[in-house]
Symmetry: C2
Subunit: 240 residues, 2 copies
């Protein structure tokens, strides 16, 4: 089994009790963890690249640290994928296209777009995964929640963006549009993944030991995510 290569000893398989006894649930959880993992790896790449555009060394380090934090979550996520009996590298493959396309379609035109993307994109992903986490077995839930911690590095984005739009109001208008585009592209790619990965989508429909999420509940979930997005934009000083 390839999985064991990434741990110090052989991987202890997760006990097949409760929800984990359901193969469809395990498959869905591996998919979810893999999507988050590839998202974090890809965020590392983009943030490291963006950090090269920083106007000062201080800003550069702030963004580079955000990149390192994303990468720091990867080990934990991959360890859980291995515990669930899947290959922690191969499992990521189905999510590359959607995540890569998201980044292709939202390539920042300048430093300010990079900052807003880092803050808004990371926030959106975290809100979404935090909602899903409520439907997971406790151990997987803990891993997902731990992987969403941003350790406060993105606070500096708020300072920088607020200061920049106070100086240049047209920038505020452009970045508000940019925030909408990020949200739209995130939804497009999430739908694409949902359409292609049946097990993952079925996760939200419940199963053994797990509550189901009906259409009304899914609607409320998206309403909460949209609201949090608007709060985040407002914190930056941007209309949403």
């Amino acid at each position: 089994m390839t999985a064991s290569r990434d741990a110090d000893g052989p991987v202890e398989p997760a006990p097949e009790t409760g929800a984990l006894a359901d193969p469809a649930y395990r498959e869905a959880v591996v998919d979810l963890l893999a999507a988050i993992t590839y998202g974090e790896i890809s965020a590392f790449d983009r943030l490291a690249e963006d950090s090269l555009l920083a106007p000062t060394l201080e800003d550069k380090l702030a963004v580079a640290r955000m990149a390192a934090v994303e990468l720091g979550h990867v080990d934990l996520l991959q360890a859980r994928i291995a515990e669930l009996g899947a290959d922690p590298h191969a499992a990521l493959a189905p999510f590359r296209a959607a995540v890569d396309r998201f980044h292709e379609h939202t390539a920042p035109a300048d430093w300010w777009e990079s900052l807003v993307k880092a803050y808004v994109g990371d926030g959106l992903a975290a809100d979404f995964y935090r909602e899903i986490a409520a439907y997971l077995d406790p151990r997987t839930r803990d891993v997902v929640i731990a992987s969403l911690a941003d350790t406060g590095h993105s606070d500096f984005v708020v300072d920088r963006v607020q200061a920049a739009i106070a100086e240049d109001h047209r920038l505020g208008g452009r970045l508000a549009l940019w925030g909408r585009r990020l949200m739209g592209e995130a939804l497009t790619q999430a739908q694409r993944v949902a359409a292609e990965r049946d097990a993952l989508t079925a996760l939200l429909a419940g199963g053994v030991d797990r509550p189901a999420l009906d259409l009304a509940a899914i609607g409320r979930m998206f309403a909460r995510i949209t609201e949090l997005h608007a709060e985040r934009m407002a914190k930056l000083g941007l209309d949403s």
Copy 2:
């Protein structure tokens, strides 16, 4: 004072006793810490960039982790620069040209050159700074030594390079030349820094409370560094 922005509270200045009472010594130590810091930031940039060229996701993650480790040392180094009363961002400026030039002159042509550069370049810098550390006050020495830990991530370079040259002997010849070029360029840029930064150079000449390093001792130091470089190349399976 800008220095205090990077700490949680006001920066506690280092006590001005022993070697630290000598302003020339403090200046030299700030220079040394700044050179190491800018080297690590720059290594982060290059490794993050190189990780995009990796042939597999596993290799990509290994190199991205090496990048994150380099960045992880920056806080500790900058905190010590601030303790010594200098601005931890501005102090780095005099070392940008030499470090940037090193990287411009040693831009890897492919993945294998990236791997060898990561391993040999990092090793050379660590050996050099470890030698210098013997001449520092204990607190600064601890910071420098801690910043050189690579936490074993580069072991994978040895595996990968050995396997690649076993398959393709011409690659071994090319990478052996590449290792010599890395050494040559590192010496060129180190000499450039030595010529421009008098305090740093004077550090090796000793002073209050500190042993002097005579020319014979400097010669022995370079002999040890060259020997360690040769051992590292041999470990990769390359002539030096």
